[in-house]
């Protein structure tokens, strides 16, 4: 990442007039027939999604939830069954009107997990390829192409490697070349399919930081697929959590973490303690009976994520984060408190994880205090009243993995 490229990077970031959304997806569906045996699988199930200009959107979800299929449908590498997609105000797919713009004519670029550099071309030729393919830049002179390739390579910090072949570079370098190849054609929308999962941890961190910086600088719109929640939190303006082809929640990272809409999201993003309960009473605050005792939730409408208003006698799932648990808090705090027995501890340096149980409920506690508790110790736990969340009850078998 060099500073010299900042000037023209900002020029590229100029938003286009009259394009409120870069990418608009409406009612998109796609199913595959399973190869063996009967039945179909629906990796995209009626998805509607608008992505702002210059936004960094992360598609997050466990393996097989349809992230790649959705991304490939936007790219045009996959033909959806229903719905519509428009990019930069141009409809690239519309099932009703029978429109399908082939991938090479969509104003996008894509970065693959496998880098997908062409091993028989030098780095220079790899990066120059989009320029030589595209109608608008095909007739550029040699010098002009060379200049643009150099610029793109400079942006990713790979000056002077143009004569090498992809096989001679490290994984991290190869992915940078792939990024340069995607940037060179100045597409405004960049698609990423788990681009960092093949490089080692250290390089991954580095590339992630560089990617954020570059996106802020160049202002391209990014749609980024990952199943790594830490990566999603770091990169995203908004995260779309996918669950078997549907968007479960679409919010900024902070909100997804603090206000998970469902048990699925709560368990997938960070770790969560979930306890089944029944609402006993509602006024300012809610009182919920659980196997651990009664819990008081302050300002409950703020902490209830269900679609319908909560009523007395309703079943709910009580959720709180492990780091919100207090171990042996003072006697008259405004916390909910209950007794547990310690099962196991593990110390990670900054924090210690405690696994505790109370009856059949097993809970995880994350604490920064470094007191040593013997196994089997009786502890008192507390959670502040505004750190509790109420989620709709979920049938036991559909809990997230």
């Amino acid at each position: 990442m060099t500073v010299t490229s900042r000037a023209e990077g900002q020029a590229m970031a100029e938003p286009q007039e009259g394009a409120p959304h870069r990418v608009e997806i409406r009612g998109l569906s796609k199913s595959f027939r399973r190869r063996s045996g009967a039945g179909t699988i629906k990796p995209i199930d009626d998805i509607t999604l608008s992505i702002q200009d210059g936004e960094f959107l992360v598609l997050l979800g466990p393996s097989g939830c349809g992230k790649t299929t959705l991304l490939r449908s936007i790219a045009g590498l996959e033909r959806p069954d229903e719905g519509s997609i428009s990019i930069d105000g141009t409809t690239v797919y519309d099932s009703g009107r029978g429109i399908f713009l082939p991938p090479n004519r969509r104003p996008i670029s894509m970065i693959f997990q496998s880098y997908a550099l062409w091993p028989h071309m030098t780095i220079f030729k790899n990066v120059a390829y989009p320029l030589r393919s595209r109608k608008s830049t095909r007739r550029l002179g040699h010098a002009e192409i060379a200049a643009r390739v150099e610029q793109a390579l400079a942006k990713v910090g790979l000056v002077g490697l143009g004569d090498q072949y992809p096989g001679q570079l490290s994984g991290g370098q190869q992915q940078r070349v792939a990024l340069a190849r995607a940037l060179v054609s100045e597409a405004q929308v960049l698609l990423f399919d788990e681009p960092l999962s093949n490089v080692d941890a250290k390089v991954r961190e580095e590339l992630r930081a560089q990617l954020v910086e570059m996106q802020r600088e160049l202002g391209f719109t990014a749609i980024y697929v990952t199943h790594d929640q830490a990566e999603a939190m770091e990169l995203a303006d908004r995260i779309a959590v996918l669950n078997s082809g549907r968007i479960e929640q679409l919010d900024p990272p902070r909100r997804v973490y603090q206000r998970p809409q469902s048990r699925y999201v709560a368990e997938f993003i960070g770790s969560a303690n979930l306890v089944a309960g029944v609402v006993r009473s509602l006024d300012e605050r809610a009182v919920v009976d659980t196997a651990l005792g009664s819990f008081v939730i302050e300002d409950y409408t703020e902490h209830w994520t269900g679609d319908t208003p909560l009523g007395t006698g309703d079943s709910v799932t009580l959720m709180f984060r492990p780091e919100d648990c207090l171990v042996d808090p003072g006697p008259d705090s405004r916390s909910n408190m209950w007794d547990v027995e310690l099962v196991r501890t593990s110390f990670t340096g900054v924090q210690q994880h405690l696994l505790v149980h109370s009856g059949d409920e097993r809970l995880i506690v994350l604490t920064t205090n470094d007191a040593q508790y013997p196994e089997g110790a009786k502890l008192r736990l507390g959670v502040e009243r505004h750190k509790l969340h109420l989620l709709p009850p979920v049938p036991a078998e559909s809990g997230a993995a």
Partner: protein
Amino acid sequence: MVRVAVLIIAAALIVLLVYPIGRMVIRALFPEGGLDAGAFARVVSQPWFWPVLQDTFVVVGTSSVLALLIASVLAWLNERTDAGLGWLGTFMPLLPLLMPPIATAAGWVFLASPEVGFINGVLAYLPGNLSVNVLTIPGLIFVYTLELVPFAYIPISGALRNLDPSLEEASRVSGAGVIKTIFRVSLPAVSQAMTSAFFLLIVAGFALYSAPVVVGTNAGIDILSVRIVRLMQFTYPADLQSATVLATILLVVVLAAWLLQNVVTSRGRYAMISGRGSQVKIPLGRWRHVFRTGTIIYLLLTTLLPLLAVVIVAFQPFWTPVIDPSMFTMEHFERVLNRRNSVRALQTSVMLGLVGGAIAVAICVLINIAKRRTSFGSILGPRLARVVDGIMRLPAAFSAIVIALGFIVAFSGPPFNLNGTAAILLLCYLVNFMPQASTTVGNAMSQVGNDLTEASYMSHASERRTIGQVTVPLAIPGLLSAWALLFVLFAGEVAASTMLAGAQTPVIGFVLVEIWENGTVGPMAAFATVVTLITSSAVLLLVLLGRQRYRRR
């Protein structure tokens, strides 16, 4: 445009396959227009008919079983144990291609003929009255077996490679020994591949021509495939009627085995769990070296020994079991290379191999591109693609002799009058080797990963540019090696060549048989040496090209 071309090619292929063979069968069954079993009855009542049938079945049946056993053991050692040869092991199926099959067969005659064979020459120095004789039914079975092993080795080693090693490990961990593991786990898991390989061996065994024409003829053993050619070549006038009847019988047997093989293969691949990555091999301990040495000795014996015999006979003034290098002479080479016939044969075969191989590769590339399915849509619909695929593989169900005889019946007379031309040879080779061409080209093209082409689309390149700049250039090493393989197959073909080549267009296979039939072993050995030199250079090229991969991490 591509679509039209592909459909025309597929149609041409099916016409070239079905029309001649159809004509041939009709001719066998309806000689005078009406259904007439007379021709059949006449052939069946010949004194040679039942002995030919019996010998053929005994030889093909026994050698198929033996080849299956040997191939299974070799494949298991190489794929599943630490006695494997690694790089050399993958080279194993290619070894027999080094020499034209007819030269290998001749090599065994030189090695193991009674009295004059080199092995007998060595055995004479040893105590005891030991001797070997290849010119017997067991001898013929031996040569057949060696030629058949690669046909079974390829599918069985493939199945073993895909076998989930954790199954074997689980069995070994639970206390079962190596032998028990083989019989309980490895063997049942690949039984389907083995059954399928067995039928493949039957198909290949009935189609074999070089071993029986070289060994069988000298031993006075009459095999079906040779008898068919003999009826056409050495009976005056050619007994086309009887030949078509025999070819129809051959056709039915081979077709039945081929269909059975397909039934077995299509019955699901339940045993084949892809064991990606995990390369756990069964340790054989002390036996490891024994087995590895055994494998190497087997390879040397089966390839180097016959080659050596052929080369020695080529340099000897007279074939004698006493090898005396001071007597070596170039006279046979001079004689054979001064014959216009053999020089022209070399030229024609090399030309046919190069041009025909290139045509076959081009056809298969075109079809492969047409079959490819992308979000753009595909040139051929899925069903049409399957039909075209089936047509490309169909010739495997007919042996070269049947195809060649069909060509004679259909194209030698008016209005085509193609008898003895290079055109009829080229067409026949193309049809006959289309399955091999289709498989190797398919493999070469599929080595280009999907995301490499998709990355090209995402770089705004059209389909045409993607094919021209990415797919084909990346497939080129594989395509060149497919070309080399086809060259070797075309140049070493014997059965169809013997029937279709004429005096004006001699080819290698035709000349080799011709010299052999004349009983002049020296020139035959010299010519075979020259041919081996040519084909093994091509095989070497094939291996080098096939190994050349771009370095990817």
